[in-house]
């Protein structure tokens, strides 16, 4: 922040409209440029630039040794990334889609997450696993999963998901720089949303583990992350017509979890709704509701409610709008927060 007055500081890039996809691309580019041990690997990440074009141009800029097309084998991609990390590299792995990450779960759970612990700190796993996740794009079967709960239940992992263009850049830079493994969940339906953004703005690099209040409010807190953040912000705007002034907390990092920001908000408002796309049962919202209840019980005016995807296999594209938490379902939950008492 102080560099604004320093005469030697380089000129900042002007803010201009950018997509989340562009911000992610820039974060990968800058990480590759900043650290020669950073290597990007995955299916179609090289010549094609990834099926979502997140790695567009990186192979041309840094060469196939640093940005590598791999065989079509997810366990192999992550398992060899483990070996590369042991060798001293900092792999950034792309799983092409959420459900395509499942073949790599064994490597992730038994090796990536545990290696630092079982080697007593001598073999850290500075691996970032980028996964486009969530629905809302009309994807065919197995292309719309929200798989965060599987990862959250695995000690040793960090789980991060951006909701804004600026956070996409900052959180990815921070994830790649982390000496511990990060599951970096990219909300694929936010890839093409634009915002005015400059990578040189200092506030674009938030630390991992810190939530942010996206919209201050006094009536109730919407606790959410990733693709559901814009939904909650829209719901909060609509709620003003009902006389509710909703606060929206964007978690950004699900693990580590920012109890401080969440509980400070709930203590102010006394009511909370957790909103996410993935299934509710034994999901992220269950954990959040429990933590809020344990820490803020005497501040609560109503039970913590959850608005989540149903406990069903992800439905066909024509039906996904009924499954995904939308503005109306969020407002319906807010209405059930025992206002009459």
């Amino acid at each position: 922040m102080g560099t604004a007055t320093a005469p030697a500081a380089p000129a900042k890039a002007a803010r201009k409209p950018a997509t989340m996809a562009q911000a992610l691309n820039r974060a990968l580019h800058d990480s590759l440029a900043a650290d020669p041990t950073v290597h990007v690997l995955g299916e179609d990440v090289g010549t094609l630039g990834g099926v979502f074009r997140i790695t567009d141009g990186l192979a041309a800029a840094f060469g196939p040794e640093r940005v590598t097309d791999t065989p079509l084998a997810e366990a192999g991609i992550l398992g060899t990334a483990v070996g590369m990390a042991m060798y001293g590299l900092r792999p950034v792995v792309e799983m092409q889609f959420d459900a395509f990450g499942y073949p790599a779960l064994e490597q992730l759970i038994s090796h990536v997450a545990k290696m630092r612990n079982r080697t007593r700190g001598t073999m850290p796993m500075p691996i970032t696993v980028r996964i486009p996740y969530g629905g809302g794009i009309g994807g065919v079967e197995h292309h719309s999963d929200s798989s965060e709960a599987y990862y959250l239940h695995t000690p040793g992992l960090q789980v991060v998901t951006p909701a804004t263009v600026a956070d996409a850049y900052g959180l990815l830079r921070a994830s790649i720089a982390s000496d511990d493994p990060v599951i970096f969940l990219e909300p694929k339906r936010l890839y093409w949303g634009k915002a005015d953004w400059s990578p040189d703005e200092p506030e674009t690099v938030p630390p991992l583990g810190r939530a942010v209040v996206r919209r201050p409010g006094r009536s109730a807190t919407l606790i959410t992350y990733g693709p559901s953040v814009p939904v909650c912000l829209e719901a909060a705007e609509a709620a003003t017509a009902e006389g509710w002034d909703l606060e929206v907390v964007d978690l950004r990092s699900l693990m580590p979890f920012d109890d401080e920001t969440v509980c400070a908000s709930v203590r102010r408002t006394g009511r909370a709704v957790v909103v996410h796309e993935s299934s509710g049962f034994a999901g992220t919202g269950a954990e959040i509701a429990a933590r809020v209840m344990e820490r803020c019980f005497h501040h609560l005016e109503a039970p913590v409610l959850r608005v989540t995807g149903f406990d069903i296999p992800y439905p066909p594209p024509m039906l996904e709008r009924y499954h995904l938490p939308g503005v109306d379902r969020v407002l319906d939950a807010v209405a059930r927060l025992q206002w009459e008492d």
Partner: protein, 382 residues
């Protein structure tokens, strides 16, 4: 020496396999079960008397250590032990083929390989006693901790070798796995990645004939070494109870990897003389006749016969090695018994690099809980 032609020749031999045990494909052998030195047209070895005696000593010490560990388990000092009995030549021969700068990825049975890498045998016992998940620093001897998940480490080895290839370094990697692991998808993917990136890794399969209760026939309809051909690199079967042949073949494979030749699969044809682990009962699934037949191919006896015939070693030397092995076993026994119990608070260490809110909170709460418990005990004692 030409490795490619070995694969080609061996695969012709493999076609005869279904004819029964007598029609096994040829394997590389430099020392017969009777201790006769034979020549192989592609693999040769010329060792000094000191080196030959060294291989004998390695195998005897390894077997003695292994036997001590079995005893320690029976006496309740270890929770479990996976014996390597019968596989000494496969492990010592291949381990002695590695260079200090090579990196080794073992399974949980590679006690002999650990010995060749300079890992203190005592440190192997920590995980089997239950005090840690691996009691050595992998980077000290370039010997990774034991991997218990079957076959996973072959991918780590391939990735490590890909790192070496990116650097243009001339080290190599060796990945150990078994006949059971050869069915794992991870192993197939490790073969694929290693081949595609021409990674300097030797896949060393100890085919000890049994994956707990399942014979190799339940894993593969072709000899395991022949699988390499489908991935585009050579495979060779070596007599896994012939330490000279294993050393020669593994040396050649590692040197090939170091000089840009890419991966290679070595199948060491051997036998697990003991049960899978101390929790297993091999009599439920195999006949003792089979084990007795393999006793005639014992790796230590055949080298000893050769050494004696050649006049390289005598009874005095054997007695000296036996005495050394007893001393080592005694040190291991005493070391295990005096191994300190781990500190309960250590379970919160090295979960993450830095402070982590969840783990820190649980650590603090647990410390408080423990402290209150100790107060209570002290109070009760008074």
């Amino acid at each position: 020496m030409s490795v490619k032609s070995t694969a080609a020749r061996s695969s012709r031999g493999g076609a005869k396999r279904r004819g029964g045990a007598g029609a096994q494909p040829p394997l590389v052998q430099l020392l017969t079960p009777e201790g006769e030195r034979v020549e192989h047209r592609e693999y040769s070895i010329d060792l000094t008397p000191e080196e030959l005696r060294g291989l004998y000593r390695d195998m005897v010490l390894t077997r003695r250590f292994d036997a001590e560990a079995v005893t320690l388990q029976r006496q309740g000092e270890l929770g479990l032990w996976a014996s390597l009995l019968g596989q000494e030549a496969a492990q010592i021969g291949s381990g002695r083929a590695t260079r200090a700068d090579d990196y080794v990825f073992p399974t949980y049975r590679e006690h002999g390989v650990a010995w060749t890498r300079g890992v203190d045998p005592l440190n192997l016992l920590g995980m089997f006693r239950g005090v840690n998940n691996g009691g050595w620093d992998p980077n000290e001897n370039n010997f990774q901790l034991y991997t218990i998940v079957i076959g996973s480490q072959t991918l780590h080895a391939a990735g490590y070798a890909m790192g070496i290839a990116k650097d243009g370094a001339d080290s190599a990697v060796i990945a150990y796995f078994g006949d059971g692991a050869s069915s794992q998808g991870d192993v197939a993917e490790a073969f694929t990645f290693a081949a595609v990136y021409n990674a300097p890794v030797v896949f060393f399969c100890q085919n000890n004939q049994w994956a707990i209760s399942e014979p190799t026939e339940k894993q593969s309809r072709v000899p395991i070494y022949q699988r390499a051909a489908g991935f585009g690199f050579p495979g060779v079967r070596v007599d896994g109870n012939d330490v000279l042949a294993v050393l020669a073949v593994t040396r050649a494979a590692l040197e090939r990897a170091r000089t840009g030749g890419g991966p290679m699969l070595v199948e060491a044809f051997t036998y697990r003389m003991g049960a899978h682990t101390t929790s297993d009962d091999a009599s439920r699934y195999r006949l003792d006749d089979e084990r007795v037949a393999w006793e005639a191919k014992d790796p230590i006896l055949r080298l000893k016969a050769y050494l004696t015939k050649q006049g390289v070693a005598d009874e005095a030397y054997y007695a000296e090695v036996d005495a050394e092995s007893d001393t080592m076993a005694k040190r291991v026994r005493e070391g295990v018994r005096s191994m300190p119990d781990p500190d309960p608070m250590s379970i919160f260490e090295n979960v993450y690099a830095d402070g982590h809110s969840l783990v820190d909170e649980e650590r603090a709460a647990f410390a408080e809980y423990q402290a209150s418990f100790e107060d209570h005990q002290e109070g009760a004692a008074r």
